[in-house]
Structures are given as C-alpha cells and as structure tokens.
C-alpha cells in the first residue's frame, strides 16, 4: 500500500469536506448584506449558527494533516502565501467574532458594523482560497531549495484573480442553495433569485476558467489522456486507462451535477439542488487533484515541484497517522451528521439565537 497516495487522497477528502461545508457558510456570508431587514439577517446568521464553527474545523484539520503528512508542502505553501494567508486569518477572525457579537447589542450601528465584518470576512476568505488554488494550477516560483522566490504581487495574475472570483461565485451559489433549504416565505423567494443569478455567473466563469486552463496549462490534462501525454508517475503509467476512465467519469458527473442545479432550483427541490452543488464542488476539487497528481505544489520549473514523495513525512509517520485518521474520521462523520440532523428543517429564532 502506498501511503503517500493514501494521504494525497485523505488531504483531498478534507479539502472536499472543507469546501462543501465551509463553502456554504462563506456563501451565506457573501449574501448577508443583500438582505435588508434585521430579522432576515438574523435568520441568515442562525441558519449557519450551530454549524459554522464545526465547518471551519475542516480547515484546521486539513492544515494539521498537511503538516503531519506533507510537511514540505505545508512549509512551502504557508510561507509562499504569507501575506495572503495573513489576510485570510484576519478575515476569518472578523467573521467569527462578527457572528458571535452581532446580535448582542440592539444598536443599529453596532449591528451594521458586524454585518459588514461578517460579510467582508467571508468574501475575502473565499477569494483568497480561490487565488491559492489558481496559483497551484499555474505553478508558483519555487527555487531548487523549495523556497518561494517570487513576491506577494506575483500571486495575483489574471488567471488567479479569475479563480478567486470563481471560488467566491461558487460558494455564493452553494450558500444561496443552502439558504433555500433553511428559509421560507419572502426571504426564500429573494434568495431564489440570487441563487439563479449566482448559478449563471458560476456557469459562465466555469467555462472561461476551463478554457483558460486548457490553453495555459495543457499538462493539467496529462492524467486524463489514456497515456497519450507522457505521465510523470509510475502509478499513473501502470493504471493510465483506469485513471483516465475515472477522470472522465468525474468530468461527466461534474457536468451532470452542474446542469441539475438550475433544474432542481426551479422545481423547488432544494435538497437535491444542494446535493448537486455539493457534488459539483467535490468534482471540481477531484479534477484539480487529478490534474496536478502526484504534485501538491507545482513549480514553474517542474524539477522543483513538491510531490507526494519528495514532500512527505517518513513511511512510519504516514502509516501511523493513517491509523489515527481511520479511527478518527468515522467519529467525525458521526458528530457532523448528528449536528446537521439535530438542526435540520427551517431556521427558527429563539432566545439562544445569534
């Protein structure tokens, strides 16, 4: 068993979990200022009230898992994106305390300030995550010593800004669909409009980004090519047909789930719409992972890329931590399901609400 590959998959699972779960609550944040009445805003906040904290834990755990399994990747990525990550931290701090403190005072200015903190924090975090993914696709300026050799501004190119906006739009759509499940009446109708608008923006940018990626980075398709483009990795070489078939299945799933979103929203089948947008997010993360495999951080000079072998912990650690993950992850899924089950149905305010 190749634990390097296993951990690549596990980090992928954590990223998918994070993108699906925190994705919708960042999306709710992005939409927050579009609603005007205080009651509606409280409904929005409380729709994610019991779950946002747990959703953010996926990010913390993904960071911890990356640190434990691929310390070189963790070290290089975090130091390369220094200022960008500081911005994310600032955004996440504001977001968290805004949620907690917003409704503590009735003063309008107080509430408005925290509303802005919550919304701007959510938007900034969503954009920067997208920019980071865009940089990994395009490759960053890494030296032979695995250290970043570029500047902060190098991280922002038209393509990476595009992926940043794309991520924001995707999360906004996902968050809007989540809100459709959680709200009713006028507010729900209002959100429905936003959900459709967000979907069309998402679909448009999705096509643009796909075209840009294929034009700028054709090697992203190497693992999809049934061996016609030289695969870098023996694993891919040995299973090139299976990997390519799987990759194309993901593409098909991706397209089907994207097409299913507007259909289900129009029909009022919001839970199905949510599952579709969750599948869309999962498929996009998988396509990204399949495209860069076995690399985790792509460098301009392919020789300097950090992959699952030259960036990983020792075999012993990978195996031990795999056991830890196998024991831990089922528990995590149990708690997560339990909480979502407890708070299923429409959001209601009571004296414990934000």
């Amino acid at each position: 068993m190749d634990f390097h590959v296993v951990w690549y998959l596990l980090v992928g699972v954590l990223l998918i979990g994070y993108a699906i779960l925190d994705g919708f609550d960042l999306g709710v944040g992005a939409l927050h200022l579009f609603t005007k009445s205080d009651y509606d805003r409280r409904i929005m906040l409380n729709s994610i009230g019991p779950v946002w904290d747990g959703n953010e834990v996926w990010l913390i755990t993904a960071g911890g898992a990356l640190f434990a399994a691929f310390p070189e990747v963790y070290a290089t990525a975090f130091s390369s994106f220094y200022l960008a990550l500081m911005l994310v931290l600032c955004a996440l701090i504001f977001r968290a305390v805004s949620i907690e403190f917003r409704s503590k005072e009735e003063n309008k200015t107080w509430r408005k300030t925290w509303d802005i903190g919550f919304s701007v924090g959510s938007i900034v975090a969503a954009i920067v995550f997208g920019v980071a993914i865009g940089n990994v696709i395009m490759g960053i300026n890494l030296g032979a010593d695995k250290e970043y050799a570029g500047t902060f501004l190098d991280l922002f190119t038209p393509f990476t800004l595009m992926t940043g906006v794309f991520n924001l739009v995707m999360f906004t759509m996902h968050g809007a669909i989540y809100l459709l499940i959680k709200t009713e009446g006028e507010l729900q109708q209002q959100i429905k409009g936003y959900a459709m608008k967000a979907f069309y923006a998402f679909a448009t940018i999705f096509l643009i980004i796909t075209a840009m990626t294929l034009y700028l980075k054709p090697e992203m398709l190497a693992n999809f090519s049934f061996g016609t483009v030289a695969a870098q990795h023996p694993l891919i070489a040995n299973y090139e047909t299976a990997v390519s078939v799987f990759a194309w299945m993901v593409i098909v799933l991706n397209i089907l789930s994207i097409m299913n979103i507007p259909r289900t929203i129009t029909k009022g089948k919001y839970m199905q719409a949510f599952i579709s947008s969750a599948c869309t997010i999962a498929a996009l993360v998988m396509l990204f992972a399949l495209g860069i495999f076995p690399n985790l951080l792509v460098a301009h000079d392919a020789a300097n890329s950090i992959n699952i072998y030259n960036g990983s912990s020792s075999e012993y650690t990978l195996e031990t931590m795999f056991k830890v993950a196998i024991i831990g992850m089922p528990l995590v899924l149990v708690y997560t399901s339990l909480i979502y089950w407890t708070y299923k149905g429409k959001t209601r305010l009571d004296e414990h609400s934000y």
Partner: protein
Amino acid sequence: MDVALLSRIQFAFTASFHYIFPPFSIGMGLLLVIFETLYITTNKKVWETITRFWIKVFAANFSVGVATGIVLEFEFGTNWSTYARFVGDVFGSPLAAEGIFAFFLESGFLAILLFGWNRVGKKTHLFSTIMVAFGSMMSAFWIVVANSWQQTPVAYKLETVNGISRAVITDFWGMVFNPSAMVRFEHVVFGAFLQGAFLVLSVSAYFIIKKQHLDFAKKSFKVALIVATVVSVGQLAIGHKHAEVVAETQPAKLAAFEGLYQTTKEAPLYIMGWTDTETQKTTGIAIPGMLSFLTHGDTQAEVKGLNEFPKSEWPKAGAVFQTYHIMVGIGMLLIGLTLLSCFLLYRGKLFSNKWLMKGYVAAVILPIIANQFGWFSAEMGRQPWVVYGLLKTKDAVSKSVTSPEVITSLIMFFIVYALLFFVWLYVLDREIKHGPGHDDNGVEAGYSHKGKKIEGLKGL
C-alpha cells in the same frame, strides 16, 4: 529588525493573546458539567439559571479562542517554515490528532450546548456539555504533547533527505508520552481550571456585593470555590513534580528559574528576588538547600548552574526568573486565599466579608497572569532552542518571508487584537450586567421585526 526577532514577537503576541481564552473554556467547561449535573439531579430552577447564564459567558470566550487559535496553526508554516520542515514529521502529528480527536468533538457538541436547550432532551444536553469539556481537555492534551516534544525531544531519529537534515518519529507513542508531556498537561489543565473557576468567583462576588441574584451567586460561588481550592492545592503537587522533570531534562532552564549560576550543593530556593546575568548574582529572600531538596529530595544534593553551559546557550535568566517566581507566588496566594475562604464559608462568614468579596472581583486577573507567566518562563527558559538541543530558534524562521511582510502582519494583529479585546470585554461586561434570568433576544423593546412573530420561544 530581522525576521527571526519579528517572528518571535509576533508568535509571542499571538500565542499570549490566544491563551487568555482557552483556559477559560477548559475551566468553565468543567464547571458547566458540575452545574448541569446538579441541575439534572436536583431539578431545581436555580441550577438551571446558573447553567444557562454561565453557558452564555462561556460562548463569548470560546468564540474568541477559536478565532485566534487558527492563527497559531498557520504561523508554524508562515513564519517558521524551516522549523516545519525540520520537525513536521514529528510535530505535525499531534496537531493533526488535535483536529481529528478534539476540535471536531468540541465544535460539534458545542452546537448543542449553545443552541440546543429547547431542542434536545436534558440528558442529551448534559452529554454534549460533558463532550465539549472533554474535547477542550483533549485539545489541551495534543497541543501540550507537541510543545512538550519541543522541550524534551525523544523517540526520533535525524535523517538526511536531499541534503537537508530532519527529525523523524521512531515511536509514535514514545513521542506522545515524552518525558514532560503528562506532567505539563496536568499543569496546564489545572491552571485552566483555576482560571475558569476564578472567572465564576469574580462575577459571583460582584453580584453578592451588589446584592443581586443572591441565591444564584452564592451557589455559583460555592461550587467554584470548592473547585478552586482542590485544584490550587493539587497544582502545588503537580508544579513540584514538573520542576523535578525540568531539573532532569532541561537543567539550564531550571538554573534560570532560580538564578543559579554556579553548580551548587545545597542550592537555595528564592521566594522572591532579583537576578543579574552580568554579575551572575542573585539576591533576595531564599530558603537554603530547598532547591536541592525539591529537585532531588535531599538538601545536600548538587544542582547544575548555568555555568555548566556555554553562554550562547543561556536563556534570558532575568525574565525567566521573574515570570517563574510571579507564577509560583500567585499559586501560593491562591492556595491561601481559597483555604481561608473555605474556612470562612464553614463559619458562615464568607459572603458578609465585603473586602474579601471585593478581592475576589479583582482576583480573576491572578490565574490569567499565572498562566501567561508560566508559559513565558517555560518558553523563554527553552531559548535559544526551539527544539531543545536540536534546533535554535534563530535558524527556524521562514527563509522566503521578509521583514516588511512580518511587520505588516504584526501591525495587523496588534490592531485586530486590540479591537477584539475591547469588544470581548464590552460584551462580557454586558452579559454580566444583564445578569442571569431569561434573556429574550428574540423580542426586544423598541425593536420591531415588521410584525413577524418570533417562534421557538418555548419554555419561557
């Protein structure tokens, strides 16, 4: 200013600020379990009021703790990437375990603890409270394991990959239960229990002075006082055991604790004093032979002084000495204070004692300082090493990060945290002034929701 110094300032600042909050969460978590158990067993309204009030105070602390905690996990990579490369194999594992075993547990059941009062049954709610308390201790466990390995590294081997040396785990459980892990975990958790208990004592004493919510305040006070008494006495034993471990594993740190420069038989223990590394003199009130006795069980035993180590490997003894002694001093003060209070409680004279109650209102600051200074002495006492004897702090910073970048983030953290701190104080103050009783946040005076009915206000 070089990147190493700036990164150290940033880490010290962000870690200290963060560490105001988790001890409250851990300590109050324990108290919430006790309060809620009392409510379920007695079924008395007052225990319900107590539980629900302290849950609100707990929530405000918890959220700031979570928000500021992510920063630390990121900083190992952003500011200390050379360190992350060197020890990631070892140090990353407890961090990942903390996420998987502690944070998910905490955040999941926190949802029920904070919002589930009307949604789930009493027993389910109590179970969630227990799980949150347990989860917060688990998170303390894993993070202290990680830090303890930095202090007392074992169960690793150095290997060279692509010309770069790094530490690799040879035995996972050996790394987890490294020589100082368990005693430091106990020490941290007991410190946290005290901080949580003293917050409850402080707020309850405030109500008692104001003659408000007396039944509520006295009952809260009694429970917190019993916890504080037992824990402060227990902390003395744990602290003593911890000092023995430090003497054995980090002799330079112990020497700095006590300002001991020459290796001495019958080494003294200072109650308070001043140490000067230039003249290598320590003056103050000391008990002769006590340090030898406490670390080796014999007043005549030899204790290593700083001169056994090259000067380049000395911690800043002045600061380590003072922070350590202030921590110990506060620990002793808390033992005296709680024992005296228990005696007065037994005599029925505690709550009528105005000056003592006023003292308790202010006393919340004492465990906070002790917890902060305890960490200062532990971390500064480890210097110049970031991993004791293996890697120096100055060699651990990120190579690709520049001074202006760190200055930018440092200024950002100063501004954000200052704001955060005042908002937190303001909200806490408001919660306290509001007092227990049902805070109906749904229907507010002078605040309309355009005629919408608020639902879900059961049990009011």
